[in-house]
């Protein structure tokens, strides 16, 4: 228990050492989380756009094959 207390006490510098490591962890961790989140959001947006463009193209292609029903006389 004493060894543990000594470790966290850091020879009286606990108030400077632990915040240093905490800031490092928060900044590096936060940057990773933010980067992964925006990557997922962008890739999801891209996929849904590509799917929409793809289905529109497929629809256009099938219209071309069948032949547009002539609305105008």
């Amino acid at each position: 228990m004493d060894a543990l207390g000594d470790f966290f006490g850091m020879g009286g510098y606990a108030g400077f050492i632990w915040p240093s490591y905490a800031v490092t962890a928060v900044v590096l961790g936060g940057l990773v989380v933010a980067s992964v989140r925006s990557l997922r959001a962008r890739e999801a947006e891209l996929q849904s756009l590509q799917a929409a463009v793809g289905s529109r193209r497929a629809a256009a292609r099938s219209r071309d094959l069948v032949g547009e029903p002539a609305n105008d006389p």
Binding site: G11, V23, T24, V32, L49, Q50, V53
Partner: protein
Amino acid sequence: MHRFANPARFLRLANAILPWSAGLTVVLLTVGTVWALGLSPADYQQGQSVRIMYVHVPSAWMGMFTYTAMAVASAVALIWKHPLADLAAKASAPVGAGFTFICLVTGSLWGKPMWGTYWVWDARLTSMLILLFLYLGHMALVEAFDDPGRGARAGAILALVGAVNVPIIKFSVDWWNTLHQPASVSKMGMPSIAAEMLIPLLIMGLAFKAYYVTVVLLRMRTEIAAAKVRAIRLAQVHG
């Protein structure tokens, strides 16, 4: 879509590197932190407070390294119009800002018990603060234009002009009288630091570098996806 022929190759390469750089980051950060906080010795003068060094010095290295990388990428972007170089510079800026912020905060927390003050306006500390502002300015400038190409160009010019600050930071401790101590780890000659401290310091340095590679690759992938989204939306508007 020919513009993305090259990014397609880059994406394959990035996806091949990412699991390795991410794994290396986790392993090196874990080993480095345990070593820094537990196994490395206390300093005979600074006591336990020397443990702040293991996050302060690598973040300072990476703050300067990232800016140098950004300046090189910006030069490549301006001269050869390489589209990935712009993305690399844009992806690097927030990571460099993060490293510089960590360096300033941990330096402040180290300065209080060692120098008796959190902050002093001397050459090393001030030039490091300017580096943080350069990063933040770059991030704002790149986003300030409707046309991402113009934003990238403005950002590239800022990155190149601001590069003059990097040697100023590096040599500030030699050129001016400052409270900040000169470099202990020098590439020329023997480092004036004990091996029990040097090894965990270098491990943390490598961990931060692997972290940089990982996050920049992730952010470049994001930028490529965003560029494709923009291209499709433009085609929809004009088609």
